[in-house]
């Protein structure tokens, strides 16, 4: 029995891989993933900031250094003068210009002495937006780092009455107690630290896109089976055993697609641990197989299934956490295999839920198949 199944599997595989457009379709997914993976390494940002720093101002240089260090969601353009920075905004080449005061260091020192906050940077924007509000918060935090030192220095000299203390001593003490590291750490529900996964927001939707593609491979396999059924390819298989045949035929498609899916995740840069990836992908494959076959049974004709593809695609794009994560329509989300899969990467609970959902789908399919064969 396993030998016969293997022979059938190989024959179906051979039939499938002889189609050049199937191979092309399989190649397109990793090509897209690799392309996005490569292109995302270039500089990008949710807002572009034109930065003008006055020459010779060490504090402005410190603030800019803080802004430019590390990986952030903003992109910065360096400008030679205030006019250039403004022109970049006016021309739409930058979303905002940050023009640092000519005498920023002196101004901040003065403000620190008085312990007051007054503008030291002119922010020029075309129109306000959420990314620019975030950007201004980042700017304020970067300025505050330098400002807090000046406040401390001013406090020691004026409030503690140590006017004679040298700048070098103050700086040396400050640096000796400087607090390093972040107070916050992102963790996934399985307690994996967020920094373990190094990818940008450009790459982030790739797993979701590939998961929808994988679901469509399952649906296409169901359509393929329906066409074969119409052509009489499964004429010798009893109606009661057609469901198993359709699972077998669908599995052939999904095995190929699963390999491509995992390779694509790797190329896109969103791959995690291989054990987790393989297990999640395997359960996802089973879920897609059951889902596609239930739809095949419910929609009955290839045309019906064909017409359902567009709404299904739209619903998956909207409800699965690919580009946005809506807090609505939980009941609708629970029906979509990619929704479980996308959450199962860092949460075992969804892996079990996906397995349970697959079992329900298999059971419902068996009931529908039995009802259909009785009616027939």
């Amino acid at each position: 029995m396993p030998g016969r199944m293997l022979v059938r599997f190989i024959l179906l595989q051979k039939r499938l891989l002889r189609k050049y457009s199937f191979l092309l379709m399989l190649c397109l997914a990793p090509l897209f993933a690799a392309g996005v993976g490569q292109l995302s390494k270039e500089e990008s940002g949710i807002a572009t900031i034109a930065l003008y720093l006055p020459e010779g101002d060490s504090m402005a240089k410190d603030v800019a250094g803080r802004l430019l260090s590390g990986e952030h969601v903003l992109r910065y353009l360096s400008c030679e003068g205030e006019t250039e920075a403004r022109q970049l905004v006016e021309a739409g080449k930058a979303d905002a210009a940050w023009i640092f005061d000519q005498d920023m260091e002196e101004n901040l020192r003065e403000l620190a002495k008085r312990r007051r906050v007054r503008p030291v940077v002119t922010v020029v924007e075309r129109q306000d937006s959420v990314p620019l509000i975030l950007a201004r918060e980042m700017l304020s935090a970067a300025i505050y780092s330098s400002f807090s030192y000046e406040v401390y220095a001013g406090y020691v000299r004026e409030d503690l009455g140590m006017e004679e203390i040298s700048e070098e001593t103050l700086r040396a003490v400050y640096e000796s107690v400087a607090v390093e590291g972040s107070l916050f750490r992102m963790v996934y529900p399985d307690q994996t630290p967020g920094e373990n996964e190094d990818f940008t927001y450009v790459q982030a939707p790739m797993r979701g896109i590939l998961a929808i593609w994988f679901t469509f491979v399952g649906l296409a396999a169901a359509l393929y089976f329906m066409q074969d059924e119409e052509r009489g390819v499964y004429g010798r298989v009893p109606v009661t055993r057609r469901l198993y045949a359709s699972y077998g035929a669908g599995a052939v498609f999904l095995v190929d697609a699963a390999v491509v899916f995992l390779v694509s995740c790797k190329l896109a840069g969103v791959y995690t641990d291989w054990k987790r990836e393989v297990v999640s992908c395997a359960v996802f494959g089973i879920c897609v197989l059951a889902f596609a076959n239930l739809l095949r049974l419910l929609l009955r004709t290839p045309k019906g299934l064909g017409l359902a593809l567009m709404p299904l695609g739209a619903v998956m794009l909207a409800l699965c956490p690919v580009f946005l994560n809506l807090p609505y329509f939980r009941a609708g989300k629970l029906l979509l295999p990619p929704w479980y899969y996308l959450q199962s990467i860092h949460n075992d609970r969804y892996l079990f839920e996906m397995a349970a959902y697959s079992a329900v789908l298999f059971l419902v399919s068996a009931i529908v198949q039995r009802l259909r064969s009785r009616i027939a």
Partner: protein, 413 residues
């Protein structure tokens, strides 16, 4: 010529057969998109009216300093307009997070305040902002926590340095009092940090508003993916028919043209089926687009010609993909992967300004990018002749390629 005409009529009849089903699906898509749009608009409206992101706080919240810090954030800081911090038991928070009622869960470790007070910072506050892998929202949250961390550590630095100076000067007895004073001064400065910048809004209106941007992109995405909607037309195609038609003097180019026109008719029917409820909603002011405020659906009607040109190009692209794919299954998968790839890279999901330069250039060269440029130009009242010409050229190229593939198929028999 007569044969060509008959073939064209036959194609129209084929298309008409799937039209009712297609219109029903259009309607369902329209209802789904409409409901989603209304919910998003309602969410946007309630946020502007004061609804905030709820963040669950779990863990050791017993420290009075921490309580004071949270109260300060909720009462005085600018973040209070966006964020609502709610303390709750771990299990309740987990459940609410899974239900989507919380935006994130923040876990405060035991002894956090002591760790901050002694400058150790070795007990980080952990937060979970996503069930799956991180996305744009989580990365933005990462930036926000970095800001919070910078503000705290910079203040810590100033306080510890002041304490060290006092200790070095043998004025240890003053440390407590002076720490409180400096602490208060720093908290005050942190709360007014937005005053470091003076914001000047130029108000240049040569871009699209968020609402009009996504309105146009959703319509373009619908047209780009309508190949999936019309897949039923390609389900049972005879492989011998093209050869038969060729024998009857209907060549590959004429076959493609007849089939394409019928297919384009289906795409247009789908587009109009979507546009009618949209026009009604715009006319009644149910869809709020700032640029079209008080103008009803008239501006929308005026941009239909641009969408029709784009629809012709996308129809040609989809038709070519179905022709090039060997069978409906591969055709559907090609439609999906090409549609989503082009849509993503050309900025239909995230604005293309978010992407690296090379990706933006690539996206603008795709048919989807040209379509976006052309429609955007029309929305802004500009005639972008280059983009218009590119849309026309892509249409011709795809039809030519489809005819070439058909020709090869006929020659192979």
């Amino acid at each position: 010529m007569k044969q060509i005409f008959f073939y064209f009529v036959a194609q129209l009849k084929r298309a008409a057969r799937i039209l009712p089903g297609q219109l029903a699906v259009d309607l369902s898509v329209c209802v789904c998109v409409g409901t989603l749009g209304c919910l998003l608009a309602a969410q946007g409206a309630s946020q502007t009216e004061g609804m905030r992101y709820r963040i669950g706080l779990v863990g050791d919240l017993s420290d009075s300093y921490l309580g004071f810090g949270i109260a300060a954030l909720q009462e005085m800081d600018d973040s209070r307009l966006m964020i609502e911090l709610v303390g709750m038991p771990e299990e309740e928070a987990k459940k609410a997070f899974q239900q989507g009622e919380l935006y994130a869960v923040v876990r405060v470790p035991e002894g956090l305040v002591e760790s901050i007070v002694y400058g150790e910072n070795d007990r980080p506050i952990t937060y979970t902002a996503t069930q799956g892998q991180k996305g744009l929202g989580t990365m933005v949250m990462g930036e926000i926590t970095d800001i919070a961390s910078t503000l705290v550590t910079a203040s810590q630095g100033a306080i510890y340095a002041m304490q060290r100076v006092l200790a070095q000067e043998d004025r240890g007895e003053e440390i407590g009092r002076e720490t409180d004073k400096l602490n208060l001064a720093l908290i005050n400065l942190v709360l007014s940090r937005s005053g470091f910048s003076d914001v000047e809004i130029l108000g240049y209106a040569d871009g699209l508003s968020f609402e009009l941007f996504y309105f146009s992109k959703l319509l373009l995405l619908f047209l780009l993916l309508s190949g999936l909607l019309n897949s039923a037309l390609f389900v049972s195609r005879s492989k011998s028919l093209p050869c038969f038609l060729k024998a009857r003097q209907v060549g590959a180019a004429w076959q493609i043209l007849c089939e394409y026109l019928a297919y384009f008719g289906l795409v247009l029917a789908g587009f109009f089926a979507l546009c009618l409820p949209l026009s009604a909603a715009l006319g009644r002011g149910l869809i709020g687009i700032p640029e079209w405020e008080g103008m009803g659906a008239v501006p929308f009607f005026s941009i239909w010609p641009a969408f029709l040109s784009v629809a012709a190009m996308f129809a040609a692209l989809q038709f070519f993909l179905y022709e090039a794919a060997d069978g409906i299954v591969n055709g559907i998968l090609l439609q999906l992967i090409c549609g989503i790839t082009m849509g993503y890279i050309s900025g239909y999901f995230y604005p293309s300004a978010f992407f690296p330069e090379k990706m933006r250039t690539l996206g603008s060269l795709f048919p989807s990018g040209m379509a976006s440029d052309f429609v955007e130009g029309r929305l802004l009242g500009q005639l972008r002749a280059g983009a218009g010409a590119a849309v026309f050229v892509w249409t011709v190229v795809f039809l030519f390629l489809a005819a070439a593939v058909r020709g090869i198929k006929i020659r192979k028999g």
